[in-house]
Every structure is written in structure tokens, then in C-alpha cells.
């Protein structure tokens, strides 16, 4: 191990990218699509006689593309070195809660360096390490008596519309308490803070609704890696399966949630698959209650946050008033310029 050299790799450099991807290919990782590689914040490589023998990357607080030469006699030590270096790099950025998605057969290797398994499906495992855990996340949330009827909704609310309000109202009518989990990934037009505030403002009058952060435990399509999976097309199924398992085995169990409420999804393929996976995995522990989407009185179209975003982009603010609660409307009016600037700077608004 003495003549090992640690280097930062620049994947924008064609030669370095070539060496890195060839190494990964030799170990069976072959997906280098820009969806996977663009989000990487950094990549390190261990070299022996100028030969790349181990590598690892990170995107936010998620470790990715961890690979160690399997011909090396000390590949265990190389793996530990890579993880150790990555954790120290992240610590310098004040990131201490680190996640990894990997093949189930690599769980042991990660557990040996202090990671804890959160959930495992047939195809993927989700592990974490550091100064937080799903246990500490759940301990910080408000709790209710398990004899009560407790419902839950997960939403991005980008932005919070009358449709979201309607779904929460239906859940609130049927439950003693409703948790609204806000997706914490900041990849939306409205920031997590803004979305949370809009939901809180728009549900203030509903006494049995509590709005809480989703933390790192609502597994987002935006951050879930697919490079280690065999079929990229099934990424959405793998990702939603992991997400559904986390909800079932941890969140619902610890918070005594008996019903998960969903909106019907006639328009988005991604959300449709997500709903299908939830309906397959959650019962019987957690009932799935699908509520038909609220429709606009004027034209009969379903109320969607996407329509609102498009109206903001096209500067047709008048269209928005009928679709959102007054609290959201006020927020959009006040921040119109900021929002339109974000769209101009390239924030995608057409997705979910």
C-alpha cells in the first residue's frame, strides 16, 4: 500500500473520464449517462504505478460509483481507504450524514465501515452513516397515541395548490391526525423552505394536520442512482420500492401510521408507477387510500402544480388565482420576479 497515490479525478477531462469509465466497466458498472454523472460533485482515485485501482464519488451526501479492483489482494483495505477519504472530504464540507445505495451483496462491506442498513430490496440496499440516523430523525417528530387513527401524505407541493389542500382535507376528515411529509430534495422551482411554509400557511386552520420534513428518507428520483442497476428503464421501480420500504418499515411503524393517502395520477407516468408500487408494498400494514384529484370548476381539468408553474413561466399570473389557496397566491405575487429568474436560469418546471 506504500506506493499508492490518491488523486482527485476531473471527469470533464476526456482522458481521465476514459480511464475512470474503463476501470468501472471492467468491474461491471457500465452506465455513464449524464443523468448519472452530471450530479457528481467530486471523484477520487487511488493509483498504483499510474494504474487506477480504486475509485469513489459523491453527489451531495450520497456516495456513488464506489469500485475497487478485484484482482488486488488487499481490496478490503482499498475499499476502506476510499470510503475513509470520501467521508473526510465530506466532513470538510460540513456534511456528516452520508448515504449510499448499492447492490444488496455489498451491504456487509459498508456495514464493516460503520454504515447501518435502512432497507433492502431484491435489487438494491439503502445504508447510512454519520451523526444522524433514521432513528434520530423519527425521534424528533411529534408522536400521537397508537390507538388513534393516523394518516400520512407525502408531497413536494411545488407549489402548494388547491389540489394539495383538497387531498389534505380528505385525509384530515378521515383521521385523528395527519402527517404531511415535505420532500426535502432541493431540485424544484420552489425551495424546500418555501414549499414547507406554503403548506403550513395553507393548512393553518386544520388542527389535526402536522407538517414535517421528509429528511433524507423520502427517496427522491432526483438523487437515486441507477448506475449499479442492470436495467436503467426500471430505475423508477427500484427507487420507489426502496422509498416504499422505508415508509413501511420505519416511518409508518414508528409513527403508528395506518393509512397513506395518495392522489390519482392520470397524467404523470412517474407518479403513476410510484402509486402502483406503494399499493403493492404498503398493505396490509398500511392501507393505501387513493383520492380522486380535484378538478378546476371552470374547465374541468385537474388542478396541478405543473399548470401553476407554467403560468408563472408564461407570466399569466391571473390564471393562477383559481388554482391555489390565497396564501400560495400571495407568495407567488410577492416572489414573481425571483421565481421567473430561477426559470430563466434553467430551473426545469415541466416535470413533477
Amino acid at each position: 500500500m506504500n506506493n499508492l497515490e490518491l488523486r482527485n479525478l476531473n471527469l470533464k477531462d476526456p482522458d481521465q473520464f476514459e480511464q475512470w469509465s474503463a476501470f468501472l466497466k471492467s468491474l461491471g458498472i457500465g452506465n455513464f449517462s449524464s443523468v448519472e454523472t452530471d450530479p457528481l460533485d467530486g471523484t477520487i482515485g487511488l493509483f498504483e504505478n499510474n494504474q487506477l485501482i480504486a475509485t469513489g464519488s459523491y453527489a451531495g451526501n450520497i456516495l456513488k460509483y464506489i469500485a475497487v479492483c478485484n484482482k488486488s489482494s488487499n481490496n478490503g483495505a482499498l475499499f476502506n481507504r476510499v470510503i475513509s477519504e470520501l467521508l473526510n472530504i465530506l466532513a470538510q464540507k460540513d456534511i456528516f450524514h452520508v448515504l449510499v445505495f448499492t447492490k444488496p451483496k455489498y451491504c456487509k462491506s459498508f456495514e464493516q465501515v460503520g454504515f447501518s442498513l435502512i432497507v433492502k430490496s431484491d435489487d438494491a440496499a439503502f445504508l447510512e452513516t454519520g451523526d444522524q440516523s433514521i432513528t434520530s430523525y423519527l425521534a424528533d417528530l411529534p408522536k400521537f397515541k397508537d390507538t388513534e387513527k393516523i394518516g400520512a401524505i407525502v408531497m413536494n407541493a411545488n407549489p402548494f395548490t388547491n389540489g394539495h389542500r383538497y387531498l389534505i382535507e380528505q385525509a384530515a376528515k378521515n383521521s385523528d391526525h395527519v402527517y404531511v411529509f415535505v420532500v426535502s430534495t432541493d431540485k424544484s422551482l420552489f425551495t424546500t423552505k418555501e414549499r414547507t411554509e406554503m403548506i403550513k400557511a395553507g393548512t393553518k386552520d386544520l388542527d389535526n394536520v402536522v407538517v414535517v420534513p421528509g429528511g433524507d428518507y423520502l427517496v427522491s428520483y432526483a438523487t437515486f442512482p441507477a448506475y449499479f442497476l442492470s436495467y436503467e428503464n426500471d430505475k423508477i421501480v427500484y427507487q420507489t420500492t426502496i422509498d416504499a420500504l422505508v415508509f413501511k418499515q420505519w416511518i409508518a411503524k414508528q409513527l403508528s401510521i395506518s393509512t397513506r393517502y395518495l392522489g390519482t395520477e392520470p397524467e404523470s407516468r412517474t407518479t403513476k408507477i410510484y402509486n402502483e408500487v406503494l399499493e403493492e408494498i404498503l398493505p396490509p400494514d398500511v392501507q393505501v387510500n387513493v383520492i380522486p384529484r380535484l378538478c378546476d370548476d371552470n374547465n374541468g381539468e385537474i388542478v396541478s402544480a405543473r399548470t401553476v408553474r407554467l403560468a408563472i413561466a408564461n407570466d399569466e399570473i391571473a390564471k393562477i388565482k383559481a388554482l391555489v389557496p390565497p396564501t400560495t397566491y400571495d407568495f407567488i405575487i410577492k416572489n414573481k420576479q425571483v421565481l421567473q429568474d430561477r426559470i430563466k436560469k434553467g430551473m426545469k418546471i415541466s416535470g413533477n
Partner: protein, 97 residues
């Protein structure tokens, strides 16, 4: 003394120990991962606890990932992690040593 911010010291390489200290609210909590936990787990935890007590810290969460570290290494990594967290790395607390 109180831990407010998370800090890390050490590596995952052989004969080392990686110590992460963070804010606690329920006494001294130590989560140890080690291949030799069965035989030496109690000793490792005791060594870490002694250091924490010398700093006069009452509430702290510690995650320790051991790769077969000697006692002196365990002490050094724990002291460094705590000092990084307290922002006192530049002024070593000689009495703790």
C-alpha cells in the same frame, strides 16, 4: 462543556479508528463498530468514555468505527474529534492528555 457541532477524526484504515462526535441530549452515547467488539469492545468504550469525562462533557453522541486501533490511537482520535468540535484544536488541553 457542550458539544454543538459534529466533528470527525481518524480514518478507516487498518490499526486506526474513525471517531465522529455530535450533539447529544441523553448522556454519553457510544456506538461502536469493530471486528474485535466481542473481545475488546468494553475496553474501547471505556477508553473513549475516560477522555469524554476528562473534558467534562455530559451529553454527547459518539460513533466509533474501529479497525484494530491501539489504546493510544483511540485516545488521540477521540481527543482530536472533541477538540475539532469545540473549536479548540489550536490550543490542546494538556491536562486531558
Amino acid at each position: 462543556m457542550e458539544i454543538k457541532k459534529t466533528a470527525i477524526a481518524g480514518t478507516l484504515e487498518s490499526s486506526d479508528i474513525q471517531v465522529t462526535v455530535s450533539k447529544g441530549n441523553d448522556g454519553i452515547k457510544i456506538d461502536l463498530t469493530s471486528d474485535v467488539k466481542e473481545r475488546f469492545g468494553k475496553n474501547i468504550v471505556k477508553t473513549i468514555e475516560e477522555i469524554v469525562n476528562k473534558f467534562g462533557i455530559e451529553n454527547i453522541n459518539i460513533k466509533a468505527v474501529d479497525q484494530g486501533a491501539l489504546d493510544c490511537v483511540i485516545k488521540a482520535r477521540t481527543i482530536t474529534a472533541i477538540q475539532r468540535s469545540l473549536g479548540t484544536s489550536e490550543e490542546p488541553d494538556w491536562e486531558v492528555l
